[in-house]
């Protein structure tokens, strides 16, 4: 089963997200502070309490299934807040079970790529921020589709552009990831197996784009297309 899947996905050009084995399984993991700009933005806070030291293992978060939104979906904007953060990430879509993989063959476990926008309520805490900042309904737009790995020669120098209402607000590159895609997948799979259909977001630059209610966030990654979502206020 695993063998036929891994042979098949090299030939696919566009993978619909709702079809097994590429169906999104309910697990989207993401790495924080894995972009040089994100770690640099913390300055000398890194070595001080409560952190005391720079992170050693990948710093990870989980976006649960209630957060998933597809291209074109509205992201509900909570009334109690003025601004949200929209952090644009390259996401790896797992194609074969990845357990304790070596960096050299980590990407063999990847079926394809997609754009992941990690939406958060801004928080100054990196120590133990509340899950409610990241796990609200609609806070994880994904898409616009899964692009097969074979169509992206390397995930390590892709430009990521974030536009708000058409205005370019951030340009980043996966070349600036502290652990590039293969190294990150290897480090994560050391302690947690990633299964087919799961997604690993590789890390966003800082500062993240700030979005207000009524605005549209459009993220574009080289070769992966554009993911567009309007943020709209909800009642109290």
């Amino acid at each position: 089963m695993t063998v036929s899947v891994s042979m098949a996905f090299a030939d696919l050009r566009s993978i619909p997200m709702d079809v097994a084995p590429f169906r999104l399984s309910g697990a989207v993991y993401g790495a924080l502070l894995n972009h040089r700009a994100a770690l640099a933005a913390l300055g000398d806070k890194v070595g001080k309490p409560p952190h005391d030291a720079a992170p050693k293992a990948p710093v990870l978060y989980i976006k649960p299934r209630n957060t998933f939104a597809l291209c074109g979906d509205f992201v509900p904007f909570p009334a109690a807040h003025d601004e949200l953060e929209a952090a644009a990430n390259l996401g790896l879509v797992i194609g074969r079970s990845a357990c304790r993989v070596a960096p050299d063959d980590a990407l063999e476990h990847v079926a394809g790529y997609l754009i992941v926008v990690d939406v958060s309520i801004p928080s100054a805490s990196h120590y133990r921020p509340q899950v409610r900042f990241k796990a609200r309904d609609g806070f994880c737009p994904l898409g616009p589709k899964v692009t097969a790995r074979a169509d992206i020669p390397s995930p390590d120098a892709l430009k990521i552009r974030t536009r708000i209402d058409g205005v370019l607000v951030q340009t980043a590159s996966t070349a600036d990831l502290i652990r590039p895609a293969a190294q990150l997948l290897a480090a994560v799979s050391e302690f947690m197996t990633l299964a087919p259909g799961e997604v690993l977001a590789t890390g966003a630059a800082a500062p993240a784009a700030r979005v207000r209610s009524g605005q549209t966030v459009l993220v574009e990654i080289d070769g992966l297309g554009e993911l567009s979502n309007r943020f709209l206020g909800i009642g109290a």
Binding site: A27, P58, L60, N66, P129, Q130, R132, L194
Partner: protein
């Protein structure tokens, strides 16, 4: 009514206890099997796994942490789940790996913006969870780190899914943990800082809970280190006994010269 999900003879089955104390199960197709002849799986289709840190006052004190005005919630992924009688790996280089016996609350009906008074109507049932942690890997970034709490096979669920109607009061259940037969942890769900109804109100205020989502409600005082070979049994009044065995790296081929694993016992 309580039911399990087990693998037997090439397929997955719903199973119920057969007889009293005979260690027998009856599969949905009528077959009767011994409970040690099947592979026990988590007893329901698990959605989002939500867990609570420090939700018992005495355990918070044990870890020298102050009380909070808001629940300490974290999330777990599906790869961390195992069923009753499963194995959990203890890496050889760690000093402190501990069990956590917890009441698991299974959502049965979509919950969004639910009030505390309505909350329990959204609960399908309950089971036992053993939510392991390896404290050696704790780093002070986005705690608790997934490397500590979201390891493969480090969240046991089961053995049974017990319907809510069969649990008279989820706020008055004794919990106990035994390591190699010796009791190491005891508490009662009435000692929770944030009770089940409050947790559902709190969570559903920002995230829609769906059928199959599960809330692991935290653990009482008495967590302790476990070693390879230990048998850990978590017990909750009315929900059964959830057994788990700690195994070492050699079973997984970690650190062996040729990368090969030892045969499982």
């Amino acid at each position: 009514m309580k039911r399990a999900k087990v693998a037997f003879a090439g397929s997955i089955h719903e199973a119920v206890p057969h007889g009293e104390g005979e260690g027998l199960l009856r599969l949905a197709d009528g077959r009767r099997v011994r409970e040690d002849q099947v592979v026990w799986l988590p007893p329901f289709e698990v959605g989002t796994i939500i867990a609570l840190g420090l939700n018992y006052a005495d355990h918070a004190k044990e870890l020298a942490l102050n009380s909070q005005d808001e629940p300490l919630v974290f999330l777990k992924g599906p790869g961390t789940l195992i069923g009753h009688r499963g194995q959990t790996r203890r890496p050889r280089d760690v000093a402190f790996m501990h069990y956590e016996c917890e009441l698991a609350v299974v959502i049965g009906r979509t919950a969004a913006g639910v009030s505390r008074s309505e909350a329990l109507a959204h609960v399908a049932g309950y089971c036992i969870a053993n939510d392991y942690a390896i404290r050696d890997y704790l780093e002070n970034w986005y705690r608790p780190n997934l490397r500590v709490k979201n390891r493969d096979g480090a969240t046991a669920l089961g053995p049974w899914f017990v319907e809510a109607a069969d649990v008279a009061d989820p706020a008055d259940l004794d919990l106990r943990t035994f390591v190699n037969g010796k009791q190491t942890q005891a508490g009662n769900t009435r000692q929770m800082i944030f009770d089940v109804a409050y947790l559902i109100e709190y969570l559903s205020a920002f995230m829609t809970l769906s059928a199959g989502d599960v809330i692991l409600t935290g653990t009482p005082h008495g967590v302790g280190n476990v070693e390879s070979g230990d048998e850990v049994v978590c017990e909750i009044e009315g929900l059964g006994r959830l057994a788990n065995t700690i195994v070492g790296d050699e079973v997984y081929g970690v650190g062996s010269q040729d990368g090969r694993s030892m045969p499982c016992a």
